[in-house]
């Protein structure tokens, strides 16, 4: 089979998988958050409301896509698809099984970080093109937050990279299959790096408590204020996709990817991703949000210095491990 | 001195009647001349501890005198409150013609700002020395002052914007 055909097939499979999981994850979040809040959640469509995502999608499709008179039309239309494309693009290098990966890049982690920081651009485009003060404030906050949180995210992702000695996600997972998951071994840096990766990735994905770019209670809905219909739907979808991919990356970096007994690798990978995903939901529905200056303070005062320290500790660990092996 | 449910302290009644020569009214709190108004409020705040701003109430009293002459009077009742246990209210009223204005209390109590704006808005009494006398409740372009007695309750109003 030609490598191009293989990449095409895998990318189609992964995109379908991701979109399906995202759609049902919205159902799951609504049901789960409902129970967290003593509500029943969706029950109308299908058993246990399982068809709710379909209905949501249909509703958004039916709605008119309004473009405000004073908006920058081209940019306004461009922004939502761009966010989804960038979010899906990140998924290319995530290994969902030992063979299920669209493009096994040697610099996979770097690629993820690069595309992750690019997602700030369409959000800013959306905020700017809406020509709304709330959207503009939201866009400004998104940019400030995105740029700041790139650094702790990169530092946290650097720890597994140093420990495994490779930037390819497949290699990192293979290393973990041999030497144990990074959250558990080596004790300390791996687990702490995960604890830092989680808030940083939440901030990247604009989830509570870091969702200040679209804070409903302050900025109404921030960048998404002026979007209607499928434009809003795509921005919404991109946010969920981003969260899903972040949890997939975290499970590959820290939880040994497809590593697990009995079941095939893909099952383990999806299970780990979904558990992390559910954890992010639970956090979202349990916390209030930060103020923007406090958000920056946490990044620059805590996450960045401690992240640097973690990178140093893991580098020392690798050297010590080499020395003791000789 | 007769506001039911509002028993004023004896020393305040003394102050009102003796120092500020307030007239005892059959209805409502003692009537004070507008020129004593600010001084009275300052004395109450600084010497008697009436530090919490209470209320401002303007009411419109159109009447016809025995001579058949129409008078259009507005009465403004002010109230101040002491702090803490056994809190008391002190209140007094002023009476002016509709056209003239009442000295504003904003310089002494910042809270008088919105209250006086509301009374200006609804009753149409002007407050002298108020830094920002705009309508508070009704739109800027509203015609008339609704709580005047000559403003009928079913006055037609164009839909607002």
């Amino acid at each position: 089979m030609s490598p191009y055909l293989r990449a095409l097939i895998y990318s189609l499979v992964i995109i379908t998988l991701l979109l399906t999981v995202t759609a049902w994850s919205i159902w799951f979040e609504r049901k789960f958050s409902g129970r967290m809040q003593s509500r029943v959640g969706p029950t109308f469509y299908g058993p246990f409301g399982l068809l709710q995502p379909v209905v949501d999608g249909l509703k958004l499709l039916q709605k008119e896509f309004l473009i405000p008179e004073s908006a920058d039309r081209a940019l306004f239309v461009l922004a939502p698809p761009l966010t989804v494309i960038l979010a899906l693009g990140t998924a290319a290098v995530v290994p969902f099984g030992s063979e299920v990966v669209a493009a096994d890049l040697d610099v996979g982690v770097l690629y993820i970080l690069a595309l992750g920081s690019l997602t700030t651009v369409p959000v800013w485009i959306a905020g700017w093109a809406s020509n709304n003060k709330y959207s503009l404030l939201g866009g400004m906050r998104a940019v400030a937050q995105g740029i700041s949180y790139e650094i702790p995210l990169a530092l946290a992702a650097l720890v597994p990279v140093i420990l495994a000695g490779s930037m390819s996600l497949t290699d990192i997972v293979n290393y973990q299959i041999q030497h144990g998951w990074f959250v558990f071994w080596p004790p300390g840096p791996g687990f702490l790096a995960f604890l830092f990766f989680l808030p940083a990735s939440l901030a990247e994905a604009n989830r509570i408590p870091f969702d200040i770019p679209e804070a409903e209670s302050e900025l109404i809905a921030g960048v998404t204020t002026e979007y209607t219909g499928m434009g809003f739907g795509l921005l919404y979808l991109a946010e969920y996709l981003h969260t899903l991919i972040v949890s997939a990356v975290a499970s590959a970096l820290f939880f040994g990817g497809w590593d697990g007994p009995l079941l095939p690798g893909l099952h383990w990978m999806v299970a780990k991703t979904l558990v992390l995903f559910a954890g992010i939901f639970a956090i979202r529905w349990s916390l209030v949000r930060f103020r923007s200056d406090q958000l920056m303070g946490i990044c620059w005062r805590y996450l960045v210095p401690i992240g640097l320290g973690l990178v140093m500790v893991s580098a020392i660990w690798v050297q010590l491990a080499k020395a003791s092996a000789q | 001195m007769s506001v039911a449910g509002l028993a004023m302290a004896v020393d305040v009644i003394e102050l009102l009647t003796q120092r500020f020569s307030a007239n005892s009214e059959p209805d409502g709190p003692p009537l004070v001349a507008p020129e004593h108004h600010l001084e009275l409020a300052r004395t109450l705040r600084d010497e008697f501890g009436y530090r919490i701003f209470g209320f401002v109430i303007a009411s419109h009293h159109p009447a016809t005198t025995k001579d058949g002459e129409k008078v259009d009077r507005v009465r403004v009742v002010y109230g101040l409150r002491t702090v803490g246990s056994h809190t008391r209210l002190a209140s007094w009223q002023l009476e002016v013609d509709v056209g003239t204005s009442v000295p504003s209390l904003v310089g002494l109590f910042a809270g008088a700002d919105w209250q006086e704006r509301e009374q200006y808005d609804l009753v149409g009494i002007r407050f002298e020395g108020h830094p920002d006398l705009r309508r508070l409740m009704l739109p800027e372009d509203w015609k008339g002052h609704p709580l005047r007695k000559d403003y009928a309750i079913d006055t037609e109003v164009a839909p607002w914007r």
């Binding site: 209670s217 930060f290 406090q294 | 449910g5 701003f53 809190t87």
Partner: protein
Amino acid sequence: MEVEVASSAVSASREISANQRPVTNRSPAKTRRGDPYLDIAAYDPEADLMVLNLGPQHPSTHGVFRLKLYLDGELIVKAVPFCGYLHRGVEKLCEKLTYVQLVPIFDKNDYVSPMMNEQSLVMAFESLLGVEVPRRARYLRTLLAELQRIASHLLWFGAFAMDLGGALGGGSTLFMYCFRERELILDVFEELTGCRFHYNTHMIGGNRHDVPAGWAAKVHSAIDIIEHRLIEYENYLTTNRIYLDRTCGVGVVDADLAMELGITGPILRAAGIDHDLRRDAPYHAYDELEVRVTTDIAGDCEARTRVRLAEIRESVRLVRLMIDGIPEGPLGSRKPIKTNLAEKSERGHAYAAVESPRGELGIYVIGGGANRGASPYRLKIRSPSLHALSCLPYVLPGHVVSDAVAILGSVDPIMGEVDR
């Protein structure tokens, strides 16, 4: 199940509150007063400031309230509040309706604590008309007021959390919890009066609805559950580090500013002034009860939350004291309402104030109006929310937009009462 846990849980909650006091400076703070009359044209001749209209259609303005903010970046330079979007002309309506008809209308003013509105109105009318209230009715009114205070503070707490945490996040979770517990009180009210919200349960000289059989037990179980769940709220939100970051030192209203503006209630008490009409000018049956007043010194959003949560606990205690000892006797001193012209007053002024959950809710009424004296000549509502909102132009400058929302939430404005 819940009921049994409650008593032991109370002491546990106190410990949590004591241990988890925030580490930030809790000394009495001074408001850095902004200038409400700042001349923007002189301050900013280049017109560099961004003007942001927060409201009137905004999810966290608690109704329809508009704040015109002059922003330097995200920092507020000047705040100009506009109210009146919900102005319904109740005071004008009072000139037309009679004393009997006005009671249900006043439920609609402060739609979060309608019981207090009815009580203040009925009290003002009673002092104007010189009507005595039987002891049973006074007790029942006290009881209803305290239950209403719990419900009102619970709603405020949920809404405040939502301002901090958003409609799609942890804030709405607490909002739902608070509504779940508030529902218990509304159920109790429904049992008594037949309505969950606009009760019309007071009449001049007494109460209209008597206590049904088995009501006391329902009240007991409701307040037991609420007291128990308060601990959950404290663990969930008020001891959370993120919440403390958002509220400590934010929106300080100091004692001088509060008194000057006529702000009463929890905001004044959070600024360190020990002032509560229930204890200091007792009405209803409060002279037979010992009301413990909670104060705090910091005067910020956190202190206001602390004071209000303590007031819920205090109300629970008072309800527990009263619920089993409602004295026997007649419910009203006047004949039941048979016509709208039942009560008449030719002249006179009267003022009555109650301690509503938002502060001193006073009714000033001048008798001798239309309908041959059956309507008031002039009626003025001293609304605590309006006084509380007037602190915004002084407090907001120097804060960012996120804080503006938190401060607006923490002063607990009810727009129905502000605009009337």
